[in-house]
């Protein structure tokens, strides 16, 4: 289901061409970002610094993800943009329109037919496949940041694999709440080396990071970092032997499609506070209806 069937990017379209370079960023910037991406793929989980550009949107709206997407896009690509799983929220719509306008590419809601998916805080329910690229918007790339404020120190800790502190956080969780209460941005270890923040996806999605067929890229605009999980990479969620990692979702079924296995959003449906649950992945829900 292709949403826009506009003209492909061609030289015969002087208006689009003159207003913006393809995908907004200039070619030098894209090359710089691509180099960072290649390095990130070569060292899975390692945060590669890059020179983040001002984008025509505020920080926190996905400037990192947008720059990575802009650098990956080819005129033949089909782009899907989701925000918390949904194709139709403001953030998703804005970014999709942004690329429709500046790159003139095809866009879609369909997970399966997209070649690049930019996402905020979710991984689509439908399994990704080889050749696809999933690009995450990342607010704070450093998993150790809240425990160790010094960037110089966290870099050394990564370099020397000193990750005891990460478990201190989980220890504190169990101590304070009786279980690991971290529900999103749950820390992972990539290819048995780097500890990484998977961006604020629910920990329900963590198992999908492991051995994924698609290339996963992470862009943090404000913090100027890019990192990656290449296809078929081992990803482990950190835990304790006696408090193992457990993906978590609401104990309910989707009131639209009846799915009992997808990640659900809670919706308050009336003034009495009654709740209903629907799939957070709108495309998945749509297809099942």
């Amino acid at each position: 289901m292709l949403k826009s069937q506009k003209n492909k990017y061609t030289k015969e379209d002087p208006l689009e061409h003159d207003e913006y370079n393809f995908a907004y960023l200039d070619e030098q910037t894209k090359r710089m970002i691509r180099r960072a991406i290649l390095k990130a793929i070569a060292i899975p989980g390692y945060q590669v610094p890059f020179s983040s550009r001002e984008m025509p949107m505020p920080y926190g709206w996905g400037t990192g993800g947008v720059q990575v997407t802009a650098s990956c896009l080819c005129p033949t690509d089909t782009l899907k943009v989701i925000d918390q799983g949904a194709d139709d929220t403001t953030n998703a719509v804005s970014i999709r329109k942004f690329f429709e306008k500046t790159a003139n590419i095809n866009t879609t809601d369909d997970t399966n037919s997209a070649s690049i998916i930019q996402t905020r805080h979710r991984i689509p329910e439908e399994p990704l496949k080889e050749g696809q690229i999933l690009i995450y918007q990342v607010p704070i790339p450093e998993p150790l940041r809240f425990l160790e404020p010094r960037e110089t120190e966290t870099r050394i800790m990564h370099a020397l694999e000193e990750y005891g502190l990460m478990h201190v956080k989980l220890y504190e969780d169990i101590t304070k709440h009786g279980h690991i209460s971290t529900a999103y941005a749950y820390p992972i270890k990539v290819e048995e080396r780097y500890v990484m923040d998977p961006s604020p996806i629910p920990k329900f999605d963590n198992p999908k990071l492991h051995n994924n067929e698609a290339l996963q890229l992470f862009g943090a605009g404000r913090e100027q970092r890019i990192y990656a999980i290449p296809p078929y990479t081992k990803v482990i969620s950190l835990d304790f032997e006696d408090y193992p990692f457990e993906p978590m979702k609401a104990e309910a079924i989707c009131s639209i499609c009846g799915s009992n296995s997808s990640y659900l959003d809670e919706i308050i449906i009336n003034d009495k506070g009654d709740k209903s649950y629907i799939c957070s992945d709108t495309n998945y829900c749509e297809k099942r209806k």
Binding site: I156, E162, G164, V168, Y171, I174, T175, K176, E241, D242
Partner: protein, 256 residues
Amino acid sequence: MNNILSVKSLTKTYGHQIGCNDISFDLHEGEVIGVVGESGSGKSTLLSCLAGRLKVDKGSIKFKSRTDVKEELTEITEVRRRYLSRTDWAFVHQNPRDGLRMDISAGGNITERLMALGQRNYSSLRSKALNWLSKVEISTERIDDNPTTFSGGMQQRLQIARNLITEPRLIFMDEPTGGLDVSVQAKLLDLLRKIVIGLNLSVIIVTHDLGVVRLLADRLIVMKSGEVVETGLTDQVLDDPQHEYTQLLVSSVLQF
């Protein structure tokens, strides 16, 4: 010889300023050496050099590892140094805030090093934390409280527990009783004494408090202006000081 540490001609300067000059000594396993001297005498510089926190200009520091291999500490990599400093060494800071994570619970503070070494069983970590809390005489009910809610003496004891849980063999102490009131000092000293003897630890303790070294140290090194002016058996140096400076130091103390 069963030297855990051999220091030879260690020199460290800060530009033209001498930090410490041509220091040599051996530390046996199970031995406690006190380093005394006034502020600026170079004793803290010496400690920082030994613990690898400062780069040495000249000299050698040989450390005997658990596998009986002599390692030259001035030449080991940063990776190795940091590994040693969380397994074989402990550093007890004067200010417990420098050695603790103030926004992490007491239990988390104590067990961090174990987690860093790969221990992944919450219940067993917890029981080890409880065990160490009682060893350092902190009520086990306080395990989930942050150190910010602890008194200075308790914070210092917590720091010691956090440092000693991996059963290090070499302890560096920088004024461990500084900033504590006298009754709390006595308790801490007694505790340190018990632990040091009980675990057969090798210790280098830097302090200007002669009472502390009298109680803990087997041997004494007296420093002034970056140089060693006198060494010897602790009570001999304190009761029959030879060097002018040591005599001044000893006579300046009201009672100890």
